[in-house]
């Protein structure tokens, strides 16, 4: 393996920014490459009103007073101080599932095996306390990004080297025909995130302990005038925009508690921002 420093946003190889995802996955053998490309020099990291360089670290975002509350709090409650110093915004949006079967290399539907992909979801019939309560029939993984939920609530847009897209369109539910969980094309680099100002916003996160844990349920809400968007982390294989209430959830035998937690946090979030 070699490590190159990118001199432009066009290159061959696997991009690495803070490496907090890439390095553990490489070491676990879940990711393989001949060429790592350090993109820290070519991805912007500056912060301006309504505009954030995709290379900004979560630590930069958690203490910038110009950032909307929902995004600041999502960053402040994500991961640990060391990881927030290292991890970038784009890398956070592109993190892989924390599904323990996937991380331990079980040959599930999201893993390549000798002749294609695995054909089982081990979590559905196995241990799924932390798994999805929406859209969980094919893969029951729960999207772990607090930050993505916040950006979805803000209706943020991404600018990449190839296109501009709403953050929702970065993600896709895996299917039998196409197992990918993002729409990012090989070689496409995320450069910037933009969003309009909002009147009030909030992020609430339920976790196993008060700090330093992935979201069991994260609730992001942002209000502009009479219009409020609510997005959830930890409840579906992708960041989940809530339409209506939680009654349409389809929990698994051992994670129905997440529906109650989500319902309570959504109610509290709406009350907090006067929605």
């Amino acid at each position: 393996m070699e490590l190159r420093r990118a001199s432009s946003t066009t290159f061959d190889g696997l991009p690495v920014h803070g490496g907090t995802e890439v390095v553990p996955l490489l070491r676990a053998g879940l990711l393989r490459t001949d060429t790592l490309v350090d993109i820290r020099g070519v991805v912007p990291r500056d912060i301006a009103p309504g505009r954030i360089g995709a290379g900004a670290t979560l630590a930069q975002l958690e203490c910038d007073p110009g950032i909307p509350e929902v995004l600041r709090e999502a960053c402040r409650l994500a991961a640990s101080p060391q990881l927030r110093n290292m991890g970038s915004l784009a890398g956070n949006l592109l993190q892989s599932t924390r599904c323990w079967y996937w991380r331990l290399g079980w040959p599930c539907r999201l893993h390549r095996v000798a002749n294609g992909y695995g054909d089982e979801c081990f979590a559905r019939d196995g241990e799924h306390r932390e798994h999805a309560i929406f859209a969980n029939d094919y893969c029951a993984s729960a999207h772990p990004s607090d930050v993505a939920a916040a950006l979805l609530a803000l209706d943020a847009r991404l600018r990449t080297t190839a296109r501009e897209l709403p953050v929702a369109e970065l993600y896709r539910l895996p299917t039998e025909a196409d197992r990918r969980t993002t729409t990012l094309e090989p070689g496409e680099v995320i450069l910037e995130v933009t969003f309009d100002e909002c009147d009030q916003s909030v992020y609430l996160k339920a976790m196993e302990r008060k700090r330093w844990a992935f979201p069991l349920v994260g609730v992001a809400a942002a209000r502009r005038g009479a219009k409020t968007r609510v997005a959830l982390a930890g409840v579906a294989p992708v960041p989940w925009l809530l339409s209506g209430e939680l009654d349409s959830a389809t929990p698994l035998p051992r994670n129905a508690y997440k529906v109650d937690v989500a319902r309570a946090l959504v109610k509290r979030a709406r009350a907090t921002i006067g929605a």
Partner: protein
């Protein structure tokens, strides 16, 4: 590649994929930095890169080519060490180098941190022995 550790220049030869923690411990024999989980969860491997606490077990050594690294060995004379001893802020001691590195970074930017600030800044350093109350005391009283 070149690495500056605790003010000394080193030449490092490990292949790409070697972590900073492995390079420090195995190539430079700076074994104060500990590796426990090896995957970013516990903070035992915390070092400063350009004065910011990072996890050396998931940092590729080639990614910090030219950077300034501070390990526990470089903090020998920092008053935080005495504070940990005074407060008896350890049991087995395995997490302690990482705890002290994070604590030093905190007080260098905020010399008199509140309890809330201490808990927020130290949240990434786990202690299996549960010495947390004493660690908090050491940081609260580090100036003597």
């Amino acid at each position: 590649m070149q690495l500056t550790v605790n003010g000394h220049q080193y030449e490092v030869h490990g292949e790409v994929g070697t972590t900073l923690a492995e390079a420090l411990r195995e190539e430079l024999s700076l074994t104060g930095t500990k590796i426990a989980c090896g995957e970013g969860h516990c903070g035992a491997c915390t070092v400063l890169v350009d004065d910011e606490p990072v996890l050396s077990c998931i940092t590729l050594v080639h990614a910090v080519d030219g950077a300034r690294v501070t390990t526990i060995e470089g903090l020998r004379d920092h008053p935080m060490i005495d504070a940990f001893v005074r407060s008896d802020a350890l049991q087995c001691g395995f997490c302690t180098p990482g705890q002290i590195v994070s604590a030093v970074a905190l007080v260098e930017s905020e010399p008199a941190p509140t309890t809330e600030q201490i808990r927020h800044a130290m949240a990434g350093n786990l202690c299996r022995c549960g010495a947390y109350p004493k660690i908090e005391e050491a940081i609260r009283t580090w100036q003597g």
